[in-house]
Subunit: 349 residues, 2 copies
Amino acid sequence: MGQEVTIAVDGMGGDQAPDMVIGGLDIARRRHDDVRFLIFGDQDRIAPLMRGRSELAAIAEIRHTDQAVRADDKPSQALRQRRDSSMGLAVAAVKSGEASGIVSAGNSGALMAMSKLALRTIPGIGRPAMCATMPTSRGRSVVLDLGANVDCDERNLVQFAMMGAAFARIILGIARPTVGLLNVGEEEIKGHEALRLAAGMLRAADMPFEFVGFIEGNDITAGTTDVVVTDGFTGNVALKVAEGTSRLYTEFLRHAFQNGILAKLGYLLARGAMAGLRDRVDPRLYNGAVFLGLNGVSVKSHGGMDAVGFAAAVNVAVDLVADNLKGKIIEDYQRFGDGGLDEVSATAL
Amino acid sequence: MGQEVTIAVDGMGGDQAPDMVIGGLDIARRRHDDVRFLIFGDQDRIAPLMRGRSELAAIAEIRHTDQAVRADDKPSQALRQRRDSSMGLAVAAVKSGEASGIVSAGNSGALMAMSKLALRTIPGIGRPAMCATMPTSRGRSVVLDLGANVDCDERNLVQFAMMGAAFARIILGIARPTVGLLNVGEEEIKGHEALRLAAGMLRAADMPFEFVGFIEGNDITAGTTDVVVTDGFTGNVALKVAEGTSRLYTEFLRHAFQNGILAKLGYLLARGAMAGLRDRVDPRLYNGAVFLGLNGVSVKSHGGMDAVGFAAAVNVAVDLVADNLKGKIIEDYQRFGDGGLDEVSATAL
């Protein structure tokens, strides 16, 4: 890693906070040499959790606040009234430069709003996008936007492709990721206008990723491309349909194993293998959605995660900071700009 | 059923046609008392398949043509050049009134184009929608539009709700189905403008279904509502993500059962129960996508289906004709029109 990475942590966000936050940090710190945590939250609740965790305590600093963003706070409300909350102060620490990234398992809308306002988008980037990985037949794929922007134009989509590819280079460790634009396949339908324009721009560009063209919904889990680009409405639905289908299948599988004495016995024998299956679709492995495109790394952990899941989100934040996500995006954007983003876009509009 | 139902059948559409077509008809006819089939296709290939199927032969008539729509025909090309194909003639038989519905496992785009041109939309209905059922935790839900319309306005969505509910009353046998509008849940995002307008119109209307408001992607498989309404872009992606995730899970499960001797033995014991699981997610059960809103029932069977799957699509067509789908849609549309569709829409626009 080389240089020290400081991550600001919302100690009070998430269903099982602060316990799972501290537990998660204690797991995550083992993977990184030079990491420091600034933990914002209720000192009286967090300090006792540090006992018996001397190695974590040595690299962590607790900053007290008795305020927290509530799950039902609206984003606008959080911006106005929760500036001194654990989330608000953690975001502010990234803005001031004390930390390079923030991780929170709290209210998504509030985190997105606070991160956007405080960190602002990287110059040239129109809108940040929410990005995460999903399980595929070949491993994992990066999917964005997962819900930050309902309506996207071709420039947004092109920038999502750039940012998603930079994310994939760091998180998946793929030097030249493949990128697909999510579309529909019926002959009659040629997709949204923005999709066609974005495809033209991406085909013409010389970028550190390979644009393979349009893909369809089933290509996400097939792992056809390393990066899947779509608007925030479609991406949000796709993510939740995948989660729901996985849950349905698990439920059907559980019923099947309870269906008679032979099935129950079979389950006992195959239990170890079934644990392996569970691990492959374990949502904790895919935890950590990132708001890409900001001046600072902002990672959302799912609110219902345990310590292992929270640790995964922390790992994402540390890796993105250590491998300079922002620098990669700026570099690609400048390269793409030179490669004709403005030109192509000007003719397209 | 009461009165005779005549279904026109594209004998040559689908990967395993005409064998699986004839096999499927022979399965489907057992479920219906008073059904007749007009089968269009190559007499020399179809007639031999009728041998040993005297009960099917008694209610089926073969109409010869040596033309067929090809899988790679573009819709416009099919309209111009394949009028005398098995698909084209089958659609024409519905237009002429000889048959009340058509089933084809051939080229989707061609079937949609031919059906729209020949059958036209029911007066008042802006656009037909593609509709099918998907497996849920509670049974099955009706989802539309699955790909006929990329961009939908609020009137289209309201009409999809009406048509989907009529479909659910017939196919799911639910007297007063619940209907949800697919949206995204992030706080920052309030969904598309068309969605908000459609929700307002549906809330105000007095209809033979219960509008429950917005739902999210995971609600589809949870079975939160009997009918899920969305635009054709999102619906197509959702359907394919669900199929892909189901395939991924099956693949992971297969790997898990091959993982060591205990797992293999466990599989042998649980095999019967696993077959039960397979049945619950068997895509053949959900086969038969309908173009709703036309003057005649047009059903698309998946191209890769076998006879059992094709029979399911035929059953859908027969049930929709026998239970007078078109009459139900017209009745609901008139009722909704009185209930304020034009008014609400006029103020909304």
